[in-house]
Symmetry: C2
Subunit: 357 residues, 2 copies
DNA sequence: CCACGGTACTGAAGCGCTTCAGAGATGGCT
DNA sequence: AGCCATCTCTGAAGCGCTTCAGTACCGTGG
């Protein structure tokens, strides 16, 4: 009696009570077409009366061999993750896509820029994993492979056997670079995202670039430099500041350094909108007006960019999230990974850039 | 043969290969003290060689009756959720607290301000649910009860049998209100968060307040009005604009309306920092300088507030998330819900408020 | 030499569900 | 009347794991 009190009802409880087999009760929930509506109704009613909330999700998953959830592995903790609006938007689109089925998002935040630990991945109840911009030696990636989970990679790194969504970072950066050169700027500065996951910040040396582990950063950098090269500006002449995260404060810091140099740059290329907005603040604090004295370009086109009237490279974040979601669903149904999907970018010119004086 | 190829190895596979019982292999993973180190090593080695990644999480959960994850139910989709930095920070602290065990976060985003659907909750692999600021008739709450899951409520609503974390919203708003009245302001305007989950925005009528379903909103409102009442300002004389989300654009819209009224308010009390930052923008666009011509106060003290030099009410978001996490862990271990935990608030005076002219 | 307490390992009973081959019953069609 | 198709429902075999009572063995102290 006390045992019955403690224990939650199961399929069997309901089956016995109604006087049918357990299979029939299961069908009542999962295959309504397999039994008469009357019986089904009786079963549901009895279940309700017994306080049975439906088949236990875990047991059901064990039997069906699918959990109905999608794990998203992030590089960093949630806070730094979501302070980047680009991620919020992407993740939202991803969740909307994936949720429309019957699935939920399992969030596996990372630590120290290296992604989630292998342990969390090994233990995760999930059918498929999505890696969002992880460093290429993230332990989570090994764990995914070990478990034999289908994998979708967003942005980076390159993983064989994984579906990929990426953005035309090089093309976008190229457009940004050409935009400022076409405005006549010849003294440039670059505020870069992280080269490696070590949290370092400061001026970037060629060695550091050579050792870089984030494709996105490198592609954007190449794009910028390529545009500049078209006007004979050599890479060595372009000061680069590395910011270990897409956060305003870090952009501000970088801009302070760049704008304090001689010759002073007349345009700053920033690898994210948040960095760019920080840079604008720094410029203003130095008494420089944007865009009259210094032009600033961002990357991503987050809502804050339009709010801040920032010229930037728009990437379709919603499409990115949606694609990642769709790929995940497809992988989950056993599809083989196809060619990487590439999201287009285009330049959005706003009020933070103007012709060089 | 082809069957062996397809099928992933299980505990049995490893057990047979090593020539021990399944129980022993299980012990090798879960209770290393139950077998000799030598054997354990041999088992692990064989497992590795076989490509066995460790006990299947779902099966293990079925046997142990715990999933190792914590479901967080949000009011809205991820994008609007995370555009509110306050939530990001809270969630980060929550995840850090909860993750330190071996658990992960299952995110159940809502739709249309009503929280996640009952279906997602019923199907979620989770041991405990955390409701983050849901309307009191959210279907998810019923689902949680039906399943008999332990519940932690953050902010609202009041649910019997649930552990609660709340913020001293009334006290915080009171401080904000007293701050502006003590500066001599007598013409006030309020930009409110949602009263109901219907997405309505615009001036707020007394009837709408009477029908409101969000405690947080009401408490903050009461706090403001109480402070004003101390100086004889009656509620009817205070225009209120309702913004259905904590988003700058909505704050801007509200401020445009409030600042266009006669008599024009000399101070605006905003229920979130994002709203307040939008209000500052609106004031500037109307050619009014902040704080010289209009004082503006926020709520939350997000990083953007300090970036924007905004006077605001600080709530300890990290503590909030941590508390929620700890309560969840405690509930999970069978603890009975205790008295609600209340997070303190205090006023942070910055540059967006000044004495009335 | 025996009882005793460890240590190292095993057998079997679950955990709660899905699913598939089939058993009856029913009705339509020829 | 006979046959087949259809509709309902059931029995039983899993899904992969944990756990607990218990067996076998070994060294120890009396």
């Amino acid at each position: 009696m006390s045992k019955d009190r403690e224990r939650r009802p199961t399929l069997d409880t309901v089956a016995q009570r109604v006087g049918v087999s357990r299979a029939t009760v299961s069908n009542a929930y999962n295959r309504p077409d397999q039994l008469s509506p009357a019986l089904r109704e009786r079963i549901i009613a009895t279940a309700k009366q017994l306080g049975y909330a439906g088949p236990d999700p875990v047991a059901r998953s064990l039997a069906t061999q699918r959990t109905g959830s999608v794990a998203v592995m992030l590089c960093d903790g949630l806070s730094s993750a979501f302070s980047d609006p680009a991620l919020s938007i992407t993740l939202d689109a991803l969740s909307a896509t994936v949720d429309s089925g019957e699935r939920s998002l399992l969030l596996l935040p990372g630590t120290g820029g290296n992604g989630p630990g292998a342990r969390s991945v090994i233990r995760a109840h999930t059918d498929v994993a999505i890696a969002y911009s992880l460093p290429d030696d993230a332990p989570a990636l090994d764990a995914v492979r070990e478990r034999g989970l289908p994998l979708v990679v967003v942005d980076e790194p390159d993983v064989p056997d994984a579906a990929q969504v990426r953005v035309d970072d090089l093309g976008g950066a190229l457009q940004a670079g050409r935009h400022v050169t076409s405005l006549g700027h010849r003294q440039l500065g670059i505020i870069s995202l992280a080269m490696s996951a070590d949290g370092a910040h400061g001026p970037v040396s060629p060695q550091r670039i050579a050792a870089a582990r984030f494709r996105v950063t490198l592609d954007r950098l190449s794009g910028y430099l390529k545009a500049l090269a078209e006007h004979g500006i050599v890479a060595d002449a372009v000061p680069i500041w590395e910011a270990p995260g897409s956060v305003r404060e870090l952009g501000r810091e970088g801009a302070r350094w760049l704008l304090g140099r001689e010759p002073r740059p007349t345009a700053l290329l920033c690898m994210s909108d948040e960095l760019a907005l920080g840079a604008i603040r720094a410029a203003n604090e130095l008494g420089m007006s944007v865009p009259a004295e210094v032009s600033i370009v961002g990357f991503d086109d987050t809502p804050a960019a339009s709010w801040g009237d920032l010229t930037t490279v728009r990437q379709d974040l919603v499409a990115k999230g949606r694609q990642a979601g769709e790929l995940a669903l497809r992988m989950l149904n056993g599809a083989r990974p196809d060619k990487p999907v590439t999201i287009d970018v285009d330049l959005v010119v706003r009020g933070s850039t103007a012709a060089a004086m």
